[in-house]
């Protein structure tokens, strides 16, 4: 369980995280979404006690991270960039981390096996691919068999097979009753993995709800309607939950009504339709919509 209350982080004048409160519950994969620069990594660093909050608190399993006598056994973390000395072997890296808690060497071999790095365990980490680096990061996260996992962009740099592997692993870990908190800037990836979602945009909380609910509310369909009688039709379609946008003299973009309902309205008033096209918004679009004012750096 991770609980953030009024969590804020300022760097000089810049506000990276702005009064954010949320709870990440055990037994679920919780997706932590937001564009690059939204404050996800900063939030995760505050959870791990690496950055001190400017205001507010965040606890893990009821205590501040640094107050746990055995932090690696409470929280396993995969941090955004490779947090590994590039000249050391994967085995020695894990061995050094394990030693801080007196975790036995057998566990080091176990996690290496689990992430599929046994064969390259003695190689310098500097020679690893991005995907192997992510696997090593996961191995360090799992070292203490923790109840909570905090993973920053774990699928970055993985091939499709690796992505599926991570997805299954995360679901499996959540199934065992662990708290799994995963950040991503890719909505579609999260839709397949997470059952709860927390969305951050420019440091502010934008959404905190079950994934199914999030998708349902967010997928209001648009329908493109082309008609020579667009004026008349627009007036007829107007309603409390309906927005009609005029994109061209004969083209309407209608949100809040199904294509069938629009077709019926047109037939009832004997108006000609030349095109009626439902536009299912992609997950990426929903996500962009939600955070569009909040993208700090457009590429």
């Amino acid at each position: 369980m991770i609980e953030a209350r009024g969590l804020s982080k300022r760097y000089g004048d810049k506000v990276a995280v702005d009064d954010v409160s949320f709870t990440v519950r055990p037994g679920h994969v919780t997706g932590f979404l937001g564009p690059n620069g939204a404050g996800k990594s900063t939030t995760m660093r505050m959870i791990l006690g690496l950055d001190a909050p400017s205001a507010g608190t965040v606890t893990v399993n009821g205590r501040a991270y640094a107050d746990h006598p055995d932090p690696l056994r409470q929280v396993g973390a995969l941090l955004e960039a490779k947090a590994v000395h590039t000249s050391r072997s994967a085995y020695n890296h894990l061995l050094a981390l394990a030693a801080t808690h007196g975790i036995p060497t057998s566990r080091v071999h176990e996690v290496l096996e689990l992430v599929g790095l046994t064969d390259v365990a003695r190689k310098r980490v500097g020679a690893f691919s991005l995907g192997m680096g992510q696997r090593l990061g996961l191995a360090s996260a799992l070292l203490g068999d923790p109840k909570v996992l905090v993973l920053d962009e774990p699928v970055n740099g993985l091939d499709p097979e690796g992505i599926r592997w991570i997805r299954d692993l995360l679901r499996h870990l959540a199934g065992e009753g662990r708290t799994v908190f995963v950040s991503s800037h890719l909505m579609s990836e999260m839709a397949q993995t997470a059952d709860h979602v927390i969305v951050l945009g420019r440091g502010r909380l934008k959404a905190d709800q079950p994934m199914s609910e999030f998708l349902a509310t967010a997928t209001t369909t648009h329908v493109l309607v082309r008609s020579p009688d667009a004026d008349q039709l627009a007036a007829l379609l107007q309603g409390p939950d309906v927005t009609v946008q005029r994109n061209a003299p004969d083209l309407l973009d209608v949100a809040g009504l199904s294509a069938a309902a629009i077709g019926e309205t047109a037939r009832d008033s004997r108006l000609l339709l030349t095109e009626l096209t439902p536009q299912a918004a992609s997950l990426e679009e929903i996500f962009m919509d939600l955070t569009s004012d909040d993208v700090e750096y457009r590429t």
Binding site: L50, D70, P71, L79, K82, A96, T100, H101
Partner: protein
Amino acid sequence: MNVTWPHVVRSEWIKLRSLRSTWFTLAGAVLAVIVIGTVVGYATNAHWSSIGPEERARFEPITRSLVGVNLGQLIIGVLGVLLISGEYATGMVRATFAAVPRRLPVLTAKAVLYAVVLYPVLLAATLAAFLWGQHGLASHGTTLSAPHALRAVLGAAAYLDLVGLLALALGFIVRSTAGGIATLVGLLLVLPGIGQALPQSWRENTVPYLPSQAGGALYIPRPEDPGSLHFWAGGGVLCLWVLGALVIAGVLLKRRDV
């Protein structure tokens, strides 16, 4: 299975020994101290007839065989800085301080481990430099039983050890390899040079207390500068520098974000 100080020391030992650069750098420092001391000994003996009376009067065989410390201190210093700056450069610090979020045990474990592991190695180097250096000096040399000889050999190793710790503390403060090494070189080599340009009354009250000048008393029994501190006082002042730097490093480590 909790984080304890002995556990952190063990972790730091694994980190120290699992980097090839540790062993290369340490071997470099040891070689520098031994080779320079030996070569200077033989060279001095071979050119004795061309040495003027003034220089002969100043000649002191113990210090002569330990001049390699001048280069050795920089190599040991680089290793000290790298011990932590290497972690900042690669991002390893985040893993380190996520595992030990109280942070201070990492600083103290690194310091104690570095000092303890280093000392016997450095002592072997200064002893070898002394013995081979005196062998090279032949009739102009001295022995370990001469006054201050053993103390200088032990002191030279202690000086290098303390410089290593100072460098480690600077690495924690500056958090970058280049910055840490530059600061160390500034403290050890540049400041004494600048000090020489100060008016005499200022110079007398500052230069002898700089780390390399004060620490020199540990292995230079007959300093050229009459204002120099003596063995215990000089060693004590260098210890204060190291302690001060470690305290600043500790305070910053607790305060700053990783």
